[in-house]
Structures are given as structure tokens and as C-alpha cells.
Amino acid sequence: MKIDTSITLDANAPSGPIDQKWDKYRSQGKLVNPANKRKYTIIVVGTGLAGGAAAASLAELGYNVLSFCIQDTPRRAHSVAAQGGINAAKNYQNDGDSVWRLFVDTVKGGDFRSREANVYRLSQLSVNIIDQCVSQGVPFAREYGGTLSNRSFGGAQVSRTFYARGQTGQQLLLGCYSALMRQTGAGRVKIFPRREMLDVVVVDGKARGITCRNLVTGEVESYAGDAVVLATGGYSTVFFLSTNAVNSNATAVWRCYKKGALFANPCFTQIHPTCVPLQGETQSKLTLMSESLRNDGRVWVPKEKGDKRPAHQIPEGERDYFLERMYPAFGNLVPRDIASRASKRMCDSGHGVGPTGYAVYLDFADAVKRLGKDVVRDRYGNLFQMYHEIMADDPYERPMQIYPAPHYTMGGLWVDYGLQSTIPGLHVLGEANFSDHGSNRLGASALMQGLADGYFVIPYAIGNYLATSEVLKTKVTTDHPAFKESVASVAAGTKKLLSIKGKKTVRDFHWRLGRVMWDDVGMSRSQDSLTRAIEQIRALRAEFWEDVNVVGGGDFNKELEFAGRVADYLELGELLATDALTRNESCGGHFREEYQYPDGEAMRDDDNFAHVAAWKFNGDGQEPSLVREPLVFEHVKPTKRSYK
């Protein structure tokens, strides 16, 4: 592994006290005057909470915005599937919450691997997000008196999570989407649905456009602008089975990495504890059951190994409520990484339930007894219905069976305080960047980060970039040779995939990659498993380029879309494993078997690994090199993370 010390990663956060940094950034950043804003074109890729909010907000300011998504309409981006809620330090419950406490919880929840300045800003902006969403008509849950209601989420001892039944992501996204449609109707945004970004175009060192494939006609199109905003989500589908949508992918991010954007902390992946267990090899995805269920549900397994009795025949005294036993202070509401690993440990040691033995119970019997069926239905009705459809079983009567599944990726493209990647003009928002969640994201914080980035950070950051760079003086069009080159290379890539005509399907490769990633780079990793994984991924990649069969032509062809994504995952998977192999410690979602305390808790190494590991692409077939950004904790002293 090469360490590159020639590059210095500077977060560019303003100096001064942490609670004044954002104000300072806003008041000292350069501005673009209103009349000049319409001279600029901003390309926004992705229409989830981060991308949708960014596109709408930039248009509200007067910029021309081109908005791209792979879905048939911006309203379907996978933010739509977030269930439980969104955090905000409103302290409406008078229970001791504050911006400071949300900041501390998030830094600790991230196991001291995030950047303090970013997290503090996120906590500050959380309160504005709720105001903004309510003014858009987001129907958050309310009390009888008409005020907003809150629920608790993992990793916090206050109630700060706002929610709209079990469809919070959907309602927030529809808020964004309505703002985006308003701007589209007004002519300030042009939307380009069913487009897949396949390259970023860099001219004189600055991101000036994108090349994408029109998924209907198959045409390779390119678009020029003055800045590019990337909000294309995470890479959990590298595991094949995950809670993400089947079209979620890392291609846009990966192509930017290959154009010079550094990729930070790829091994920080989150395995969500409460998902419907795997049922067979033909399954296409795993379904999440919101973390909010742990508010009222109790997690248990039989005390006796291999106890095959149905749940209701196991008496209270023979049940092990293991989260309550191991973590009395937080109980069932421990953070996701802790809960997932505890469930895995119980199943690995033979206490698992269900047909495969890889599931634990999430039991609502006590909640139904305490609150009544109607209150439980009011809180979780749609989730229970979803579970019922999948498992043909009634959670009001019998406990749910759940097991962890890949859900969210904390790693992503490296960005500075202004959300700019190492390619000037390429800004990265939401799950696609790496900055706010460290090595573990707390529940209800993804929606918060996506919207903070989109509504409130990027409008200032873009203005500052445009006013200080000279992009207006050097307007480029798609006639520039860099665009022609980009189009030619994307077209050649497509042609290559179609020409292999091997014997194995795209899905077959994705499925096999997913098995390697889950078994050897999943919830726990070791030097042996990671070394093995890297070898297997390389072999699989070689096999892919010789033996994949992409049927159909270059026009509307979903097989071709997936083939390109899987090809990228066969590279990203290796980087993920390499990063995990390099990080000789356990922290948050990254658990190395060699580095644990006797009780099985993660053993962090702050002396050697309190840094962001950002990877630089050095060409196909070349080893990437590692660039480190040291993390300094001035406000929250790193301690052993304890939820006991």
C-alpha cells in the first residue's frame, strides 16, 4: 500500500469556536449578485433528499439548474423508502436536548471518525430543516394540541425524531419534489429523468459537465455547466442483497473517483439490525423494518441453543432479551452497529430462530399489552402490514423475525467543509459523500444530512465557488474536446460490454460478488477474510470481462444498465476490502475480529487511525494510494464508546 504525502487534504473549515464556524463561513463567503446568477448553469445529479433539495434551492436563488436522475421521475429516488424519521435538536419535548447534545451524540455515534466542524453544522441546521419541511406541507405526526410529535431513536436518550407514520422519507422527498416541480414549472430547472451519469467532464482541472446515457434511447449525451453537484447515494448494493433499491448504484461516484476525486473511508458500511431475514437465492433485496420499532419492540432469542419451539411456547424465563441484558442503559435502543453485531453473535452461537437459524425475535407482545393494539397500529401499522405481506405472519400475534442487512454507506467521495471534492467544482452531497457520520450513522440522521446539504449548505458553498473560480470567464460548451473524448469513452465502454457475449448472466456475477462481500467483508472482517476476498474479487472481475453475456442492443436495455454497475462494483468491492484491510482497528460499522475487547466490543486505535482514509485512483490495474486527513477532536474527547 502506497501512502501519498504529496497531497494535503484540507477541510477548509473556518477557524474559531465551533459554534461560530458556520456563521463565519456564511458571512465571509463570496456572493454572486442576483443578476449574475442566471448566467450560471449548475448540473445536479440525483433527485433524492440531497439532490432534490439542492436543485430546488439553487433554482430558487436564480441559477439555471439541470437535474438528472435514473428513475422515471424525480419523486422515486430511494430516499423515499426511509421509514422512521428525521432528527432535529428542537427540544420541543423539554427533555434536555440541544444543538450541542445532538452534536455530541452524532460524533460519539460515529465512533469518533467524523469531522467535528461538519457535525456541529449539521446539528445547527437540523432545526431549520423541520421548519422548512412543515412550511412545504409535510404532514409530520402531531399531538392533540396541534404541536409536533417526537419519538426516540437508537443512540440517543432524548426524543428528537420527527416522523410521518412509517413514511417519513417519502413525505420529505415529496416536499423536495414539490419544490423541484415548482421550479421546473417556472422554467428555472430542466429535468432529465431516465438518464444515468457515466462520466464527469473535467476541463482545465475543473468539473464542467457530465456524460450520461439516455436510458430510453440509449444515446450518449453530454451536458456542460459551471459546476457539478453529485447526490447519487451510497453503495450498499455492492453486497447485492441490501435494503437499497434495485437500481441504487455507485457508478456516478466511481467514475468521479476514476477522474481524480478521492474516495474516503470505503470500508465504513452500515449493517442495519432490523430487516426481514433472507428467504432464498432468488431474492432481489432485503426489506428494512424501521429502527423505530425498537422503541416498543423487545429483541430476544431462546436461552437454550437450537430451541426450535415456536415463540409462544417458550416461557418468559427461557428467553434472553440480550440487548437489555448486555446494554442496560440503552437496552433495545443501542446504535445500529452494536445491535447488529449482538444479533449476529447470538445466531453464530446457535441461538438464532427461524428456518435458517439466522434471525432473532422482535416482540411486540408487551407493547400491545401496555398500549393496546390501536396505539401500536397507529405507530407502526404500515410496517406491520409490510411484514405481513412478506412473511405471511401477523406481528400483532407473533414476534417478528429479523436479521441484519446492508443498509447505508458512511464512506463516499471526500469533501471539504464546503462539500467540494478534490476535483474543483465537483460538489458531493448526502450519502454520496463521507463527511458527517464517521464509522457509524445514527438512525434518523441520513434524512437530516441529505436535507441540510441540499437546502442549506450547497446554496452558500456554490456561490462561494462560482464567485472565486473564474468559470464565467471560461465558458465551455459540449463542443470542447474534453466532452467529445468523454462521449467517445462512454460509448466505447457500452460497446465493449455488449461485445463479450459470454455465458454467464450479469445477475450471476452480482450475486457472487455479493456473497464474497457479505461473507468476508460484511459485519465482521479479518486479515484472512479480507485477503481472501480481494483475491476472489479480482478473479471474478477477470471472469466478468471474459464471460458475461449482456443480451439486447444499445438502446433501452436494463441488462446493459446493470452490467455497467456490476462492472464498477467489481472494482469498488476491492477498494472497500483494501481499506478494511488497511484499517487495523475496529470502529463503528467496521469490525475487525483481531481488534476487540474480551466482551466482543470494538477496539478503536486512536493513536494510529484517528484519520480519514482517502484513496486516490492511479489507473486501471494499479494500486490506489492512500491519503490521510487527520481528525482532531477538540470538543468531544474520544472515549471508549459505551452504551452499557
Binding site: T73, R75, Q132, Q136, A141, M181, S284, Q385, G552
Partner: protein, 254 residues
């Protein structure tokens, strides 16, 4: 399990299509309907045949991407269930299943089972929003909203925009979709200032896109995977009548 499938195949927008029959076996009862189609497609690819094109994304019933007419019913016959949530255990082993795309003039077919629903975006552009710029909002608790009103607004806001209502309607009307948005925003205090222009703008656009009118068949409500009530159409009509009577409605969105 084993099934005989009659699937609509159409290679592009401006060509005629037709049903093609396929046999699929090795289906397990836990499979979702779309996983069954994935399974068929894997078999087709292995035979070097072009797979059946269909849209899907979240596969948990919330994104609204999927939508097939199964045995003549939008999203199949299961109540309040999207196509992706359907499980094969609901079908008899050996059964013949017919699979078609949404059919409506305003939803042209792109390929096989994939249709173009961009008309919905254009309707929303004509007023399906509250005009509030980022940064301008008052404190979230400044305006109180009763729990009942919020619940009713939420019921309407649950629409996933899949278009099953249009596919099921004999008139291919988009009234349930449009009314759900008009009701969601019209019930809330924040939605009042633009209530008139919203109703007028969205309904005019619905007509312009070639959707039919509502004549109270109720098929939309019957197939809606999110249980959106037809009562919303009553609300929409009331808003439209009121708005049309008032003079000089302001141009929407400005």
C-alpha cells in the same frame, strides 16, 4: 411452483405489440411477483433471448415505480398491495397469469411493460406545491394543526404516484392522483394561499395531458395500493368549483 405467463411484448413506442407465452418453473411461494419475472428473465438471458422490460426500484411498495396489470387488475387482485409486494403464494400452482402494462393514452408505452408517466410531473408543476423558498420558514410549531386534520392530510399524501388509478379507470382519468395532492395541501393551513390556483392549474393540465374525466366508477380506489379515498375527488371538485367562481385567479407558481 410452475406458471404459464402471457406477457405483453412491444419493442418500442410506435410499433404494435402482442402477447407472448412463457413457461416458468422453479418458482417458490416466498418469491415476489417481480422476483418471479427476474427469474424468467434469467432463463431468457441464458437462452440469448431478450428479457421482458419492466420498471421497478424500491421493491417494498413505496417508490411507485412498478405497476403491472395482472389478470386484468392493476397491481393484481390483492387489496392495498403494489406489484412488488405481491407474493407468488397467492397464485395457484400451474395457473396461467396475464401480464400487461398500464394502458392509457396519457401513459404511452416505452417498451414491453414500461410506460411513460411524465404527465404526472407536469400536473404537479401546475400547482402541486406550496411556494416557500428554503430559508424563509417560520418555526415549525408556530402554526398549530389539529391531529385529525394532519391525519387526513397524511392519508392523502400517502399517494405513491404509481398510476394504477389511471390504469384501472374506464376513462383513464387521473382524478384520484390529482385530488390526493389537492386534498393533502388544501387541508393544511400552509396550503391555503394557493388553494384556488392549485385546483385550477392541476385540473387544466390533467385535461391537457389527455386523461379522461371522473364518472364515479370507483375502480381507482379499489386498486389503489395506498388506500387513497375517492372522497378526495369530492374535495377536488369543491375546490375547483369555488376557484372557478372567484375572479382572476393568479397564475400558478408565480
Amino acid at each position: 411452483m410452475r406458471f404459464k405467463l402471457k406477457i405483453w411484448r412491444q419493442s418500442g413506442p410506435n410499433v404494435s405489440g402482442g402477447f407472448k407465452e412463457y413457461e416458468v418453473d422453479g418458482v417458490i411461494p416466498e418469491m415476489s411477483f417481480l422476483e418471479m419475472l427476474d427469474h424468467l428473465n434469467e432463463q431468457l438471458v441464458k437462452r440469448n433471448e431478450e428479457p421482458v422490460a419492466f420498471d421497478s426500484d424500491c421493491r417494498e411498495g413505496i417508490c411507485g415505480t412498478c405497476g403491472l396489470v395482472i389478470n386484468g387488475m392493476a397491481h393484481g387482485s390483492r387489496h392495498e398491495c403494489t406489484t412488488c409486494e405481491l407474493r407468488m403464494r397467492q397464485y395457484r400452482d400451474g395457473a396461467t397469469i396475464t401480464v400487461e402494462p398500464w394502458r392509457a393514452r396519457a401513459f404511452p408505452i416505452i417498451k414491453d411493460l414500461v410506460v411513460d408517466r411524465s404527465a404526472f410531473d407536469r400536473i404537479i408543476q401546475k400547482g402541486g406545491f406550496i411556494s416557500t423558498n428554503a430559508g424563509s420558514a417560520p418555526d415549525a410549531n408556530a402554526i398549530l394543526i389539529s391531529k385529525d386534520v394532519q391525519e387526513e392530510a397524511m392519508d392523502a399524501a400517502a399517494c405513491i404516484g404509481c398510476g394504477a388509478c389511471v390504469a384501472a379507470c374506464p376513462n383513464a382519468s387521473a382524478s384520484l392522483f390529482v385530488s390526493a395532492k389537492i386534498a393533502h395541501l388544501g387541508l393544511l393551513p400552509q396550503g391555503q394561499p394557493e388553494r384556488d390556483s392549485r385546483a385550477l392549474g392541476m385540473i387544466q393540465q390533467m385535461d391537457a395531458e389527455g386523461f379522461g374525466n371522473c364518472s364515479n366508477h370507483g375502480e381507482c380506489e379499489a386498486v389503489c395500493p395506498k388506500g387513497i379515498s375517492i372522497l378526495n375527488i369530492t374535495r377536488m371538485r369543491r375546490d375547483y368549483m369555488g376557484a372557478a367562481r372567484r375572479v382572476n385567479p393568479r397564475k400558478s407558481g408565480e
